[in-house]
Symmetry: C3
Subunit: 142 residues, 3 copies
């Protein structure tokens, strides 16, 4: 049984839904040591989020961005939290709707994702940010 | 301390919110060996999701289906990802909104669900699918 | 390696998004014993939820309440589950949208939250309720 933890940094994340599966895998070569386990990814911010969705067609990511912009409007007349700009309160709402953490099972040394599943960073602010993700692995090694 | 992992298959899942608590429990008799632990359920698909909600009145499940059909429309004029049919892009959006995994605490050999809580498979495609769920248990045995 | 589990009770939770970070920390002094680990919080109800969002400006919490009231209307003409009142079916929908559990990494004896992150209880019913949260810690001690 073993634990492993590190911070993974995404520099200059741009607004939108960004496929980060390969970046996460490259930063977590330790996954290959685990026979069974779980990887927990936790983004330490309140205006970005993490999700899992289709890893193939980039229009899925564009449509997700458009959908959440439609369903969480900027400058709604009932917002009180407005002093950080039009994109700020929508970013908080999207973060709570989508969620700030993921758990992915580890099986025989690999992330046990479905064929079409990829890991997304969802950046909800206009200006690029540096985003920190705490990665925690827990499992039994080979 | 111990780990257990298996794939649970739901055959022919039909569109809608489906109560699968008993199916999950029947497939995971190993839960009864754990004094304290966590069960992680992870659906390996991007157009279905998992949630926990009321286990009694079936109209809760019907209303959830209707609500998400209202709030995530088919054939929105801004969708670009349309070649797999009208139900495809909404399925991806619902999957990201609802989420693809659950963690349920284990206490004294049982899932520590509230009285009214049941596990739902949310099938967002029109055609029945076979859905695979990775179940991972981690805890201390009696 | 060690496990710890207890029930944390929130008495008289009032409708809205309530910051409970300090209450959770005060009830979980055991976190300080863990070098690396995870805290799982699981609310045992289907009309309340848990999320992480900004811990500073209270208008973020007010705007979240207003947004979800706009996007999940009361008395929608398609609701069938109506016998427990106008706030009941919207509460179930919000619970599935926001989610009923959180996982927070533990690092060097503390919850590894970002500077601006706080833990929220989201109470979706009008009448105050007593809400039970199962807290499960798993990790390696110092």
């Amino acid at each position: 049984m073993d634990w492993f933890q590190k911070i993974i940094t995404i520099s200059d994340s741009k607004r939108g839904f960004l496929l980060i599966t390969n970046h996460i895998k490259d930063q977590l070569l330790e996954v290959s040591n685990f026979k069974i386990g779980m990887l927990h990814l936790f983004i330490k911010h309140t205006s970005a989020s993490l999700t899992i969705n289709e890893n193939a067609d980039p229009t899925v990511r564009q449509d997700l961005e458009t959908h959440f912009n439609q369903s969480v409007p900027e400058d709604a007349n009932y917002y009180k939290h407005t002093f950080e700009g039009s994109d700020d309160m929508p970013a908080h709402i999207k973060s709570t709707t989508i969620g700030n953490s993921l758990i992915i099972p580890i099986t025989k040394g690999s992330l046990n994702l479905g064929t079409w599943q990829g890991i997304y960073l969802c950046e909800h602010r206009n200006h690029p940010h540096t985003r920190n993700i705490v990665a925690t692995i827990n499992g039994i090694k080979f």
